[in-house]
């Protein structure tokens, strides 16, 4: 039986990672109420299984693993719908933009609204979305992301790479639709 003081210390430390868990749950569920339910259940479970947490390892990754496993348990059907991103191909936004005659950084990235970036992240299949959340948003190392997701580091890297390509593709489509980039650009052959 843990000392009450030790338990409070555990809860206090666990709660320092609340924003990371909440953001992750929000981006996975797209629903603030569902996110709170998920996070609350994750914390209760964490407290119950705190003996299985190894001191000195990454508590944030451990907590995230509990939360996302609960998510996948509850939304099992979603796993089947998780489309593969294999067909994205090698989309390199940077090169695409240069082909279109734009200056990729100053002309485009500076003009994309945060809400559009969030929308592009939300459009990713969940298995790819969570890698972007961990590595890009929360700053996890590949190793910690692999621990949180229960996959090898190589899988983290390949999912991340494909997710970024899909993300860039969405942002490019947005840039074209919103007129940030003129389709065809200067490289377009004139249709005489």
């Amino acid at each position: 039986m843990a000392e009450p003081a030790a338990e409070t210390a555990f809860a206090d430390e666990a709660l320092t990672h609340l924003d990371t868990l909440y953001r992750g749950a929000l981006r996975l569920t797209h629903d603030p109420d569902a996110a709170q339910d998920l996070v609350q259940e994750a914390y209760l479970r964490a407290l119950r299984y705190q003996h299985s947490y190894q001191q000195g390892t990454n508590m944030k990754a451990w907590l995230f693993a509990i939360m996302r496993n609960l998510f996948w348990d509850r939304f099992k059907g979603a796993r089947k719908e998780d489309v593969s991103l294999d067909d994205v191909g090698d989309f390199v936004l940077f090169e695409k933009l240069r082909d279109e005659g734009a200056r990729p950084e100053s002309d485009v990235l500076d003009k994309i609204a945060a809400s559009e970036v969030v929308a592009a992240v939300d459009k990713l299949p969940p298995l790819h979305r969570e890698v972007v959340l961990l590595v890009d948003v929360e700053g996890f190392s590949y190793k910690d992301a692999a621990q949180a997701l229960g996959v090898p580091i190589g899988t983290v890297m390949s999912r991340l790479h494909r997710a970024r390509q899909q993300l860039q593709k969405s942002l490019f489509e947005y840039a074209v639709e919103s007129g940030i980039v003129r389709p065809g650009g200067p490289t377009q052959v004139s249709q005489a």
Binding site: L18, D19, R23, V39, F94, V137, S141
Partner: protein, 72 residues
């Protein structure tokens, strides 16, 4: 280092996942190659953009308080 090798390592360079030696090799290539440098700066900027677009959501104060009470 060739541009292709640099491109292959760009993800890991941006994510600070290369060994010190590898990172130094990429750094040296970037300093001598404006094309790759521009690509690197773009990727770095995109990563920052993703972070700052998504990290502004924080847990509501009332929810944090509720959890604190449940867990203590």
């Amino acid at each position: 280092m060739k541009c292709q090798e640099c491109a292959d390592k760009l993800d890991r360079f941006v994510d600070r996942e290369l060994t010190n030696t590898e990172a130094l090799e990429v750094q040296l290539h970037l300093e001598g190659c404006p094309d790759c440098m521009e690509h690197y700066e773009f990727q770095e900027h995109l990563k920052r953009l993703v972070k700052h677009s998504c990290d502004c959501d924080v847990a509501p104060v009332a929810f944090r308080e509720k959890l604190r009470q449940i867990l203590s």
